[in-house]
Symmetry: D3
Subunit: 128 residues, 6 copies
């Protein structure tokens, strides 16, 4: 059953993250296999697949929490995931703007810069 | 035009907050009329009425930011607002559970306690 | 197996927390049975029983994290747990003093006040 | 010389805090004499008496840091100190309003409530 | 009137930031014109020009909030602005030292490193 | 006596940090000799040499506080110090894993990446 939780986590991860981002995240497996199991099993096997909020709504929560705590490196992969689970670039910008009032402008400014790099990246890929 | 921004803010506030909560918030007007104008004009006149995310989605962002920064007194009024703009009790619980992974369990536990008091409050009112 | 994780969590909880503190924590079961299962299964079934650090060392980590994030209500129950898993009052005070340099004096002062109430409480119980 | 640092700290404390606030702070001496010595010797013996910023300017820094980290209990005594070292009520309100943009509105709202209780308190004393 | 708020914001920005810093900040206009309008209109059109605290005193608040929340990229441009609105290098160092007691040494150390790069930069320009 | 506090601090620093890390830290002496004296005298002359917790236990506290506040640059030197005062790589990983539940997964993931670079670094040195 523990194994099923892990398998469900891998499935969720593959649904949410683009291949390159997932590749980067999988490096954790070598650093600490235990921690990797926890991230996959608990984070993506228990939290994200829960009912009540869909993946796009859960990413609204995740993005807001990451911006508020200033975790900009994790914000990068979760903005990429947000686009895959159905949030638009406009919606992501609105999350950041809404956060300016709650977490302050400095964190919102920093988040907008992170987002703009990803959006430029995506535009470039789309044009190829 | 400045005045319109303020009027729009008051309108949004009345849509979002139950009467008693709004009454409490309006005490700010006497403490600092300037700050009250800013809260109404900027917060509820500029941020909340923006397009791209509806009020329920904006409250997902607000709740997550408040939980992450441990602002539990403001969380109280925004959980009440969340119920008015269409989030269900189950969805609010899911926001808190999702935050446990991102902001840590201590803040999620504290948030769940705040929510439970409000939900009991609402149940009591509904039973009258 | 999932069930074993939960059972192990309950066992750890009973080892760590005095009866009254545990009673307070168990109220979460009624607020959100799912979240309670997560706290017990993940927190006390997966994290605390891990090898590499014993329970007293894990509480050094927990206390430091709670002080740094200003989670003083959770700090209360974890100071009580710390005394049960082998930390002395002097060691707990030293954790707080050490945190003054890393998380700033305001949080350390607040933590020392929380600790002093618990230590007075324990002294009173011991004198009965 | 260590003793002089402590004596200078006591002198600074007496200059900065009204008698009742100081009485409350001195309770730390019984909880942890070592920590009290550190607060007095380092905080008020080394930091506040430094040149380059006067006490009023140092309180601008302190208030802003306390609001940003949500340390509202310490904010209370430092607002009282601010009034003693020369900041006006209007200036303190402006610190809070300025912080709304940098630390977010929830913390600024909470800080304004703390301030308003103190200002009412002071007005009452002045009227006696 | 909304336009006047924006114009006043631009004026304040030009008074506060050196040309290169301002150039960097203006990139926000392309990323999100709406957010840029908000930063200029609210931040620099409403907050900074308020009475009660002058620009140098407002920067004392801003620097302290940025250090406390660990927003070091924004700290960079605001240290540059602080020098333009009248704070000296010594005063900026004192803000950081004062913050060591309130926000902890790690953030103060990081802030001092950011400041030292800017001060070296300024010294080099002055020597040309 | 003040001088003794500083001398004791230097002694502690030399016991705790590898030569290169210490070299980097000493740059603070040129940026702000006063702040350097404070870091050495207060941090390493007063805090670390205190009784009640040994250096390894104090580093458990320091690491947890740094992870919780997201101070990853200081985390780097303190992981290096932790290895010198007796913590093993496994114990350091457990601190990080324990923090995932208290400070959230984003900060734990970031901390694990910082740690892995240092551990690879140490392994390389050991193989020479």
């Amino acid at each position: 059953m523990e194994k099923n939780r892990f398998e469900l986590g891998i499935e969720t991860l593959e649904k949410m993250f683009p291949a390159e981002a997932l590749e980067g995240m999988k490096k954790m497996k070598e650093i600490s296999p235990d921690f990797w199991e926890m991230i996959v099993g608990f984070g993506y096997g228990e939290l994200y697949p829960r009912e009540g909020l869909n993946l796009a709504e859960r990413e609204l929560v995740t993005l807001s929490s990451l911006i508020t705590q200033g975790a900009f490196e994790q914000l990068d992969v979760h903005i990429r995931a947000s686009l895959r689970v159905g949030l638009t670039e406009q919606q992501i910008k609105e999350v950041i703007i809404q956060c300016s009032g709650y977490a302050g402008f400095p964190k919102a400014v920093q988040a907008m810069k992170v987002a703009s790099v990803i959006f430029a990246d995506e535009a470039e890929k789309a044009n190829k």
